[in-house]
Subunit: 209 residues, 4 copies
DNA sequence: AATGAATGAGTGTTCATTCAT
DNA sequence: CATGAATGAACACTCATTCAT
């Protein structure tokens, strides 16, 4: 008899998970206020009271989704710090690798991503944390001699987050580009800039950050 | 004594402008749904029906603010295309100049900026337009030989918008840095990247975008 | 054209007063929980939002009614303290007078009375206050030589409140007896007791309170 | 080891009794509407369906508690009728005895008392019955010559119930006074009144109930 | 004897919007 | 130009009660 014939969610955990999934989708699509509890439960084939069996209220389920994303993001960022004694080729590889991992997670969890990056009122807070984490990594990596000593690591970290955010939305979630491509592009841009090398070589002393 | 005898906002245009100003602030602070018509009119010392004298509904006043920002942004972007025959130093100057102008506008209109960049549901659409505009500029500029031919101008344009957006929020609106500083930072990063030059020179053939 | 033709409550104060009146009746009849905001507004020919124009919420309108009664009761009690140098006949008259006044107020405000005495969760608190007030009056009056020195004034005060409460409900609000009658009965009982005088006279030393 | 292997309340009667006990407490503390079936079963360590194994619904368990109290009260009142040929001292003793018994029961069953006297919507009905019973007793006792023929026995009965009710709540259940004390106080007040005897003797013809 | 899971029916409250003046 | 008064339409949330096991 397996699953069929069983009341929809005889297993409470399943119902809960389903609600979370549906809610993530609705929130991602319509935002917090335009997502009604009634439509979440409808999507999960449950009644309204069932919702309150598993979540204190509408805010609570949203926060649970926020937190989930939050935690993952922090994890990814922590893992991205570079080790000493890398060569340029490995260095790039390593950076791309970390970034690609992150982007792959985002691509696999588009709803959560949209919520965590754009819809959550705590998105700003999250990004600030990510920036801080990245800045520390960068400071360390500058000290390792990987990057110029004259860069403002705070600004670079902010820029990186801005790029990730934007490209995630416009290229990744819309499936225009693969995580690997995006990661490569970001890293190349960040490492080398876009200036035509000839101009650069003939004029490089000029830059003052 | 100008106003003598006349009720507070007897001048319709004044009332309208005041409503717009208050609304911008409320929307920027609290978002669309958490901004109530009742609180807008309270902030403008008017009654609720007065609101509907000047705006069709809540959506309309929001859209008016959105559009205002939208138009300015497009303008700024159009003005930023580079002319031919620039030297590196001038080139940078020119880019920084355009960017700084834009950032100065954003800094002067923080509410509008927040609305247009973060709160408007059409923010995505706006950014897409800006990206397109910038991409076209870049393509042109690449053809002028200013930038590498191997860069993906779409990605660069997206990245630039992402950086602007992020730094606007975290550095500009929070008054951590001046428009000029931010513009300089962005341009340097974009033009030169962050790679330690030694590594770069010894390894430059490797890059494949 | 006067009142007719005017939208139901063009005068806000009227609407508010009407709501209070209807609410008092509903609360008195059905208790707090069985009184729905919907039925209050129906009784006042208003819509539900109108209710919230005048009262913060259901609790607030109930508390306003509670407080109204509360204040009146305290007033009546304060006014009932006896002056010195009264003769028995005047003494009784005076006590009856105060009590009758109180009962007349209760009779004229049956809804408020039911709310304040039986429905309010703060009824206990109110009665305690009234008891205290009465006890102090009694202590003073005992010192004037009006009443026996061996009575426990606290107990008498409690008893008096108990009698008033009970007779209000069973005789006054049900219109079985007039305020004057009830006041007289209470006073006689309280002053003289019910014991057959013969027994009393022949045995009066026995009492030990 | 009695309970070994058996689920918590394997004995149905025990579960039922427990539910009744918990319910009595909750109802007494919070009233009917603020007592939730969910909190009753929680207090009894049972599930919600278990509740409906023993009681038809929430109303039924409440009524059962009401009835329990109701019956006891009627019993006590019936037993309190006085026999003929008592002397004053014995008379008082007898009255006090009956009253004390009643109060002792109330003191031992505070939850039931609160429910039956204050919370039950049938409290009014019960009190009316008690009053009737007492009035009949009084009529009989007046005919025996114990009490004045000019007292309104209905009013006295109502007053007595009012006093019992009030003192039960304020002195007995709050453990300020013992049943015996309260009984004595009530009886003394009822029999002799509070008037200073000198005034009384010099003026006693005046009373007209 | 007992329960995990679920729901029908309601209820207070909010908000954008409008009518009559 | 302006408002006091009012409302339609929704929505989150609660609670007693029941089904299937």
């Amino acid at each position: 008899m397996a699953e069929r014939g069983r009341p929809k969610g005889a297993n409470g955990e399943e119902s809960r998970a389903l609600l979370l999934k549906v809610a993530a989708n609705e929130f991602a699509q319509n935002g917090y206020h335009n997502t009604k509890v009634s439509s979440i439960v409808k999507g999960a084939n449950l009644s309204q009271p069932a919702f309150y069996l598993y979540f204190k209220n509408k805010e609570a389920i949203f926060e649970e989704l926020e937190d989930l994303f939050h935690l993952r993001m922090i994890e990814f960022t922590k893992k991205s710090r570079l080790e000493p004694n890398l060569q340029l080729s490995t260095l790039k590889e390593r950076i791309v690798y970390g970034l690609q991992n992150l982007l792959e997670y985002l691509a696999k969890n588009p709803d959560l991503t949209r919520i965590g990056f754009y819809i959550s009122t705590r998105a700003g807070e999250l990004k600030k944390q990510l920036v801080n984490e990245i800045k520390e990594n960068l400071d360390f990596e500058v000290s390792l001699g990987y990057f110029r000593k004259d860069v403002d690591t705070q600004m670079v970290a902010e820029s990186l987050i801005g790029m990730i955010e934007r490209l995630t939305f416009s290229q990744l979630l819309s499936k225009q580009k693969e995580p690997a491509q995006i990661a490569n592009n970001i890293v190349n841009l960040l490492l080398y800039g876009i200036l035509e090398t000839q101009l650069f070589l003939g004029d490089k002393n000029e830059q003052t950050w």
